[in-house]
Structure formats: C-alpha cells, structure tokens
C-alpha cells in the first residue's frame, strides 16, 4: 500500500515536470532549438504568480490572466532572436544558457535569493487533499496532473487535427520542403514558441501552489525535465506526459524503498539506458533510419 501511494503520488508530481518539459520538447522537436531559457520563463511564471495573486486579488489561478499572455510574448521574443540569426541547435543551447543565467540573476536581484511562497490565505489549495480509497493526494499535485492532461490532449489535437499543427509537423521533419509548399514557418514558429511560454506560465503557477521557490529552483528543474524530454521522445507530446508520470513514479518509489537522494541516480541511469537502447524515446515505434 505504501508503495502504491508513493508511486502514484510520484507520478502526479511527475506530471508537473511533464508540463515543464512540454514546451521544451515542442520547440526542440519542431523548431530545432534547445531553449534553456524556458526554465527562466517558468521561474518568472512562479514569481509573477506570487507577486500578483495576493495584491491584485486575482488568486493564483486568476493571475494566469496576466502571466499567460506576458510569458507567451516572452517565449515568442526569445524565438524571434533564434529565428533572426538562424542559430544552430547547439548555439541555441549556448545562447539560451546565457539568457537563463540572466533571468535567474534578475529574479534574485528583484526578489532576493530567499525562499518565496504564496501566503496561506491566498493559496487554500496547499492544505487540501484528495482521497481516493486509502490513497491521499495533496490537491496541488492533482491540479498539476489535470492541467498537464488537458494541455497535452489539447496540444495533441492541435498538432494532429489542425492545418497549422500539421504544417508544424511538416516543418519539423523537413524545413526546406515545407517552406517550398508555402508554409509560413516564421509565424507558426513564433506561435509555437509563444504557446510554449504560455505552458511555462501555467507550470510556474502550479509550482508555487506546492510550496517555496528560490531563483535556483530553475537549475534544479533542468536535469529532471530534460530526462523527461529525452525519455518521452523529442517533440512527442503524449510521450512527454507518459515519461513524466514514469519518472515521477520511479522517483517516488525509489525515495521510499531507498532514500530520496538516490532517485536522481536511478532516473539518470534510466536516461542513459534509454539513449543506448531507444534513442528515439520510449514511446515511439522504432523508426526507419
């Protein structure tokens, strides 16, 4: 029983990291940029939520009205730079690394390096929980799982069923051919990068519901989130969610069977094994070269 509780709780927490991974995986898979600044944008999402939720009376969920559009623009602006200079994948990694450092330091200068959290009266979710049979889950993790599920389904629908989504898939596979067929990749690219910024806003908000945030939180997410992106398959939306749940469940189990500190070891061993045996991700049929 204890194990089941730990695994399911872990999986729910993993869904929050899947949500963080979603935007990263999309821009990597379809726009061929590895955007480390995404973690900075999530961080901004978290701090803006704390800043706005109380004083404006919007509450954490209501503050999305502001953070989603603002960070949509932020995501699009970062991509504008990548697009303008036609940077390679590796260079996008370096440039966005620079931007990530800048964002973290700016956050630290503005909000200090100390822990920040939503005040209890603004964040009623933190103390509530959901009971299913003998299992108890904190409400924030359940909310994270629901948001992740809705966004993944929506994104999957967009990519598979809409013209713009299919155009993006075509562009991800072969830029030149797609451009030759008249796909306006600039506009679509900005849209997708913006959408990825919007998911970062939501992920940041959900992170503040669970507890405290510091400027260094952004760096703590990096390892786990990239593990999920790679395990899920780069650009594979549903795979990202599955990988998040899997990584979360494994971490949760390892944490009670051994100790919490061993879970990074297990997760990264998984990633290395996955890279050796299934480089295309865990959840995709083996593609022909």
């Amino acid at each position: 029983m204890e194990q089941i509780q730990a695994a399911v709780s872990g999986a729910l927490q993993g869904s929050l990291f899947a949500l963080m991974a979603l935007g990263l995986s999309l821009t990597w898979g379809f726009l061929r940029v590895i955007n480390l600044a995404h973690f900075g944008i999530i961080l901004l999402g978290a701090y803006l939520t704390i800043e706005l939720a109380g004083p404006t009376g919007l509450g954490p969920l209501g503050s999305l009205l502001v953070t989603v559009p603002v960070l949509f623009v932020a995501g699009a602006v970062v991509h504008l730079v990548f697009d303008r200079f036609e940077v390679s994948e590796l260079n996008s990694l370096l440039i966005s690394y620079g931007l990530l450092i800048v964002i973290i330091q700016v956050v630290q200068n503005v909000w200090s390096a100390d822990f920040q959290r939503l005040p209890g009266d603004i964040n009623p979710y933190a103390t509530q929980s959901v009971r299913i049979g003998d299992l108890i889950f904190p409400l924030p993790t359940v909310m994270a799982a629901l948001f992740a599920l809705v966004l993944v389904v929506a994104m999957k629908y967009f990519l598979d069923k809409t013209y713009a989504g299919r155009a993006l898939q075509a562009f991800g596979q072969d830029r030149e051919i797609a451009s030759a067929f008249g796909i306006d990749h600039r506009m679509l690219g900005l849209l997708l990068a913006g959408a990825s910024g919007a998911t970062a806003a939501i992920a940041g908000m959900l992170f503040t519901l669970r507890g405290t945030v510091t400027p260094d939180s952004a760096l703590e997410w990096v390892g786990l989130v990239f593990a999920i992106v790679i395990l899920g398959g780069i650009g594979n939306v549903a795979g990202t969610l599955w990988a998040g749940l899997l990584v979360g469940a494994v971490s949760g189990l390892v944490a009670i069977v051994w100790t919490p500190a061993t879970s990074p070891l297990v997760v990264f061993t998984l990633v290395v094994l996955a890279l050796i045996f299934r480089p295309q991700g865990l959840f995709r049929r083996k593609a022909a070269h």
Binding site: L90, N91, L94, L99, L100, G223, F226, I230
Partner: protein
C-alpha cells in the same frame, strides 16, 4: 619561428609563477597588497579550468556542461583526503586529478559509444553529471554527508613566505601545465584530430582519424587537469559543501571564458580568464556583484550570435599592437597618476585592447587571391594508362543492407581489380551511395562480406578501413570548414598509415594540391572556393590518404561542361598514378569515357556488368535505367 613563440609565452608564465611570491615579499605589502595574489590565483585557476574544458569542448566541439563534476571530484579529494585521512596535499592533488580522469573516462566510455550521440545530447548528459555527484556527496558520510568538510591548512613549504604565496604557486604550476598541454596538442596530431572531429566527425573517420580514441584522450586530459586544479582550489576555499561545489558556477564560467577568449586557440581560455576574472573583480569593487552574472550571460549570448570566434582569433591578426596596447596603457595610466589603482589600470588596458581587436581589419576588406580565371586547370596527362591487372583490390560477396523494411542493397557481389575504373550506375535509390557507405565502413552490412586487399572489413571502424587503402569523396563536398585548403589535405596525411607531424604533412600536402591543380588556393578556407574547387579538394584529400581504391561518389555533380572536362582529366591522373577507382556517376558521357567496366544497380541488385559498350546496349539496362531517366544521360 612561430613554433617557439608559444613555448616562450608558457615559459615566461612559469617564471612569473615561480618568482612573483618572492618579488611580492621583497616589495612589501604596502606596494603589493595581499589581495593581488588572491586575484592572480583566481585568474590562473579559471585559466586552468577553462583550458581543461576547452580541450574536449573547444578543440573537439563536444560541449560539456559537466566541468563542475570533474572540478568537484578534485575539490572533494583534497577535502576528504587531507581533512579526514591526513594525507599530504600533493598526494591528494594527484589522486584528485586521477579520480577526475577516471570519472571522465567513464563518461566517455558511455557517451562516445552511443550510436545516437549528437553534440546536443552529450551536452545535456553532462548537464546531469554534477547533479548526480551532488546526490552521491550528500548521501555518503565518507565523502560529505551534507555537513560540509573543512580543508585543513597544509604546512607551507619553508622557502615560501605565506600560505597565499604557496597556493598561488601550486595553482600557477597547474595552469602552466594546462597551457602546455593545450599548446602541445594544438601543434600535434592529438589536437588536429579534435579539430577534424569538431568540423565533421564522419569525414574525420573516413580519412583515417581514430575518432573514439582521440575523444577519449581529450576527455581524460580535461578530467585530469580539472581535478588537479580543483584540488588546489579547495585549499584556497577552506570549507567545501556539496551545494557549493557541484553547481553550475564552474560550467557557466568556463563556457563564458572560453567563448570570450576563443575556443580554437590554445591561449584563448587564458585570455578569457583574464578578462572575466578582472570584470568580476571590478564589479565586486563597485558593489555591483548582482550584475556580474547578468553581464556574463549577455556577453555569452551576444558573442555566440555575433563573434563566435572570440578575442584570440582577433588578437592574432595584430599581436604586437595588442600586446603593446595592453601593457603600455596601464603603465602610462599608473605612472602619470591618471588612474593610480593598478587593477583598474590593467582592466582599462584590456578593455582598450578588446576594442582595437574589434575594429575592422584591412585583411577583411577583400580577397586579392580570387580571380575570374580558372586556376584549377591541370596540365596534359603524363605517362601511360595503367593496364587492368589480375589482383583483386576490393571484393563484396552477397552484401545486403536493410533499413527496416527497405532493402537498399540486396545481395551485391562485385570485384574491383587492380587498375580498374569501375563505373557504378543506376537510377536514384538503386543503392549506389549505400554501397559506397558499406565499402568505406560508414555503417556495417546487414549480411555478407567485404574484403579489401584480402582483409575482411566488416566490423572494422572506418579509419581502419581507410588505413587498408580505401578513400572516398562525398557527393556534396564535406571539407573541414575551419581548416584551410592545405590543412584539409594535411590532416589526411597526418593520420595516414604512417603518422606524420604537422610540418611534414603541410609540406607533403602541396604535392597533392598540385596534383589536382589547387596549389594557388592552398591558403583559402573551403567556404571561399567554388564548388568545382571543393570537389577537387575532396579528391586531393582522398589521395592524401594514399589509397589503393578511391570511391568517387558523384564527384562531378553540378559542374559546368568545362569543369567536367577538367575533373575528368584529374580522375585520369589519379588512375594513372596507380589507384583503382569506383566511379558513381549519373553522367553517362563521363562514365563511358572513363570506366573500364560498368556495373548497373537496380533496386539494390546487380542488373548487369561488363564493358561500357556492351552494358549500355543491354535491353534490361535500357529498360530499367535509361528508360526512366533518359534526361540524366547528359
């Protein structure tokens, strides 16, 4: 002359490292405050770390975010071994370096064996490395256990005045070692293998570079030097914690430093370390510490976008001006009393040097070597055509290559005899290029055997097959973009069957360039020559490996008629020098002209084989090939 300049600089640094502590003692702390020594130590520490990182990541192009892990192993070796095991500081330093090297070798063993490995994936894997070690250090009470470890002050050797002098000297010696290794590599095959890997790893293998072992050498040296330098720095820090060690500070710094200083030059990281350390120091002095990372982050992003070559690439264009400016400016500022503070004066001097470096240079204005006339034309042929012999140069037996359900090559058995030019033709997708890739070992066949000179090559790495005498060119030329035309050829000579030094290889490269008619383009970069010249460069580079068999994969694609005639002459020349040739070609006019025998492939199988005149009139061939793509029959 150039050869010695680097050693002179490194020896001068060694003298500074050995003399400065005594000089400081003689001058007295009034004129030479103690914190100058701390600052000098920091510059040399970051120079060591960045130079170490640069071996694999700058020279070799495999970006690592994991420098903090190698550094941290050194730090904890010093802390644990001297703090808890009472080991001497120098033993702990050596063990720290070796442990970091072992960790690096393990990372290399795993990462460089992955077939799917790309540079981006390597970067992300190394990003996880410090986090894993952080977990280990926190968990293990033998290492840390989460409390932090105090590093005891070692007994200072009696000949040195203070502890700070001792740490400076120890750290300085590591920096000298790191720079010497970097300089030595940049002059030898070890560095040039990495330059080739940086530009195009597949091609590096194909011309004979053992890429795996050279990546392992590089990552081992990166680990060793980072560990040594980390161990020394632990003595300076005094108290170490897992969180303070295995974080992203070291990776951030080494990346910014190396990108700023220049990743291709052995001294780039040293120059970058000087700039970044002084910048941080001056920001601290102005109480602007909170701006330091913001500036570094922006500098990194801007440099990658606008000046990825870094400072050193620009300094070397006018080294004397830069050296004079960066030394004279601070001297003048201090002696005239305009800026009495020495560190400010040095910082201003460096800033002026950087500004001068970015002024437009006259060299960039135009390229006088470029002229409208075709330089590439080769002279009339010399010697007689080589008769076809009986010896078999290369043989495939029932070779298959399946990609999933696609049978790209489906049971091909061909022989190439001495002195033959075998024309390999067939419609698009018939398996010609796949066959070339199989023979050169780019991927292994699904089944079947391939022999070169009687030696089975299935399972051998491409560089070993290259050493057996197989060379190839690519349909779309793939020169090493950052090497000159001459050095492209020289690399192939350095990694031939008999290893050669850089100087000898450069000399020999001239012959091969002359052979294809590229002598006057020797100093150009591949980006500055036209398609025809790039294809000739491919042939010169292939000939530099002294092949017995040359695989020409559509080496004439996209040329105009005059260029085609010239290329045909070059192919004849290669043939007459005693090299057998497999000629993959769409232009039937060329194949008919050159080939002694033709093999027609269709859907991965051999459709026909024989003399050109006979094969080209075979009804099956006409149907399968000419019938479908008559327009290609130029």
């Amino acid at each position: 002359m150039r050869r010695d300049r680097g050693w002179i600089l490194i020896l001068s640094l060694l003298v500074v490292v050995l003399v400065l502590p005594f000089l400081r003692d003689a001058i007295g702390s009034q004129a030479f405050p103690g914190f100058y020594m701390v600052l000098a130590f920091q510059v040399l520490f970051w120079a060591s770390q960045a130079t170490s990182w640069n071996l694999l990541s700058g020279f070799g192009g495999y970006f690592s975010f994991g420098q903090g892990a190698f550094y941290g192993v050194g730090v904890y070796a010093m802390a644990v071994l001297t703090g808890r095991q009472d080991m001497t500081w120098w033993m702990a330093t050596i063990i720290g370096g070796l442990l970091a090297m072992v960790l690096a070798l393990i990372v290399g063993m795993v990462a460089f064996r992955l077939r799917s490995l790309r540079g981006e994936i390597f970067a992300l894997l190394t990003l996880a490395l410090p986090f894993i070690l952080l977990a280990v250090a926190r968990l293990s009470d033998a290492i840390d256990g989460g409390q932090g470890v105090i590093v005891p002050v070692p007994p200072v050797p009696s000949f040195l005045p203070t502890f700070q002098d001792f740490v400076f000297m120890a750290g300085g010696l590591i920096a000298v070692l790191a720079l010497a290794v970097s300089y030595w590599m940049s002059r030898t095959r070890y560095g040039w293998a990495l330059f080739a890997i940086h530009d195009d790893e597949d091609v590096a293998e194909a011309i004979g570079v053992p890429t795996f072992s050279h990546k392992m050498y590089a990552i081992a040296l990166t680990g060793l030097l980072a560990g040594l330098s980390g161990a020394i720095s632990a003595m300076q820090v005094g108290f170490v914690t897992p969180e303070g060690t295995f974080n992203l500070r070291v990776p951030v710094m080494v990346i910014v430093i190396s990108v700023l200083g220049g990743r291709r030059h052995w001294a780039g990281p040293m120059v970058g370390a000087l700039y970044v350390t002084l910048l941080q120091n001056r920001l601290q002095a102005g109480n602007l510490e909170g701006w330091s990372l913001i500036i570094l982050g922006l500098v990194l992003a801007a440099l990658v976008l606008l000046a990825p070559d870094g400072l050193m690439a620009r300094f070397t264009r006018r080294p004397w001006t830069i050296a004079l400016v960066s030394v004279l400016t601070p001297v003048l500022l201090v002696t005239t009393g305009l800026v009495p503070d020495l560190i400010w004066a040095i910082a201003i001097g460096l800033a002026v040097a950087a500004v001068i470096a970015f002024l437009p240079s006259r060299k960039e204005a135009g390229d006088p070597a470029r002229s409208a006339k075709h330089h590439a034309a080769v002279d009339e042929l010399d010697g007689e055509p080589v008769p076809v012999g009986d010896g078999v140069v290369m043989e495939t037996v029932d070779v298959r290559k399946h990609f999933g359900g696609l049978k790209a090559v489906d049971g091909v058995s061909i022989q190439v005899k001495e002195g033959e030019i075998l024309g390999l033709v067939g419609p698009n997708g018939s398996g010609k290029t796949t066959l070339v890739n199989l023979i050169s070992g780019f991927f292994p066949p699904t089944s079947g055997t391939i022999e070169v000179g009687g030696v089975g090559t299935v399972g051998l790495s491409p560089h070993k097959i290259a050493h057996l005498g197989v060379a190839r060119t690519y349909q779309i030329p793939r020169p090493f973009a950052s090497l000159t035309v001459r050095d492209n050829v020289a690399v192939a000579i350095m990694f031939g069957r008999e290893p050669k030094s850089l100087a000898a290889a450069r000399e020999e490269a001239e012959q091969h360039l002359g052979f294809v008619g590229l002598s006057d383009r020797a100093d150009a970069l591949p980006g500055g020559v036209n398609l025809h010249e790039r294809q000739l460069l491919e042939m010169a580079r292939a000939m530099a490996t002294k092949p017995k068999l040359l695989l020409l994969d559509e080496a004439l694609a996209g040329l105009n008629p005059v260029e085609i005639d010239n290329a045909v002459q070059v192919v004849r020349r290669i043939h007459r020098s005693g090299v057998s040739i497999v000629l993959v070609e769409h232009l039937l006019r060329v194949v008919n002209q050159l080939a002694t025998r033709i093999v027609v492939l269709d859907q991965g199988r051999v459709l026909a084989s024989g003399p050109p005149a006979q094969v080209m009139t075979d009804p099956a061939v006409v149907n399968a090939y000419l019938g479908r793509s008559a327009d290609a029959a130029g």
